[in-house]
Amino acid sequence: MSGQLPILNQPKQSKRRWTTPEILSIVVVIWFVICWCVGRSGSDENLDPFFQRAYPQAERLDRINDAMFRTVGSEDQVLGYVATATASGYGGPVQVAVAVTTEGIIESLAVVEHRETPSFVERVKREKLLDQLVGKKYSDPVSLDADVDAVSGATFTSRALTRSVAQSVRSVASSQLSLEVPAARKGIVFGLPEIVLIALFATAVVQRRFLKGKQRRVVRWITMIVGLVSLGFVFNSPFVLTHINMVLLGYWPDWRTHIYWYILIGGLLMFKARRDWNVYCYDFCPFGAAQDVIGLIGGAKPRRVEWKGLLLWLQRALVVLAISLALIYRNPSFTSFEVFGTMFKLTGSNFQFVLLAIVVLLSLFLYRPWCRYLCPLHKNTMEGLFDRCRKNAKKLWLTVRPKQAA
């Protein structure tokens, strides 16, 4: 019986008029497309002046290709090469310029542009990761697993930088110096974070499908606490707005080094699209769990607030603004106002620290204030937009092809 119900309803649905939220969701999607196009049209950077700084004694700079320059001194003597390469960090790509001598040694290097989470880049700068790479040879491993120490708390950024540098020096050595370059290490990064994430997804699904009542509540609390400790405090890899921006901008990181990213995004989309389950927010979001734990102390519960409609629309406006700017500047992470890193790694702007303090205070009395009034990924915002788009697409399909759908 239950299987026949949607079919009986379908002709009725297809004749229904478009509602205001449906139209607004289409407007927002069109607006994002416009922002994407604006960002795309203004993304070409001229890096020539920065390359010249690597070899100030150079008479001229010959462009070999888009990613490589030859620096030439007086009497046409080749001084060295400058090459650029890009690799994906946690929040987006990191581009480096590497000055290479005619012997294939890294003479100097610089991050010329990055779309990475700013706090991670700050950490890498502070810990002087770049200095470790100067003096390495084209034949050295130049890898986190071998001769470079990752900066703690910024492993993805360290890996992206190291990979970009290795790629640059090897491309110069092989193409310009005719040197035999060792095969690039393309090992798959699969460890504890990925295993924990898969286990959390699996437990959440089992809990939703097979458990009820008290058992379900107990298992949910277990996954929440595991999520809080592992994804929050230990790995510091929660689902963030940056991930959505990366998808919208088309920044697909290398799957070999970002399996975690693909499991997280793929798992979320798969369960949302197939079952309409948000297994992340309600089962193992570390910040959701933190609010739940704080709420236990203060006896938090869903309470009435004034100006509910205003707060809802401000929350949505904030998210649309953050995503629009990310698309225009083609930087997935810089407008992300979430306080997850502030809580779990004590990094962020002064605004974020104050914001976190207020959210913690509110969590004592209100049930999940961040999720309900501020989170860019909540049902009020991006999850809601996803649901609406899915329904719109279905409706459009029923309108265009009513017979086939029936």
Binding site: L47, F50, R53, A97, V111, V305, E306, L321, L355, I358
Partner: protein, 57 residues
Amino acid sequence: MADRASKASGLIETFWSLLLLGCMGLALAHIVSSVQAQSGPDEEIIERTFTTIRAEE
């Protein structure tokens, strides 16, 4: 008595809402400051690394 309780609960509701509005203001301030700090290629890093290496030579 009931009137006073309802007034108190109304005040508390307004207090929560004001705090939430404050949070949104802080989030907006963070976004604005990030946009102001965004300035294309990271000149500061470039200057530091390239000049440091040159000085060592």
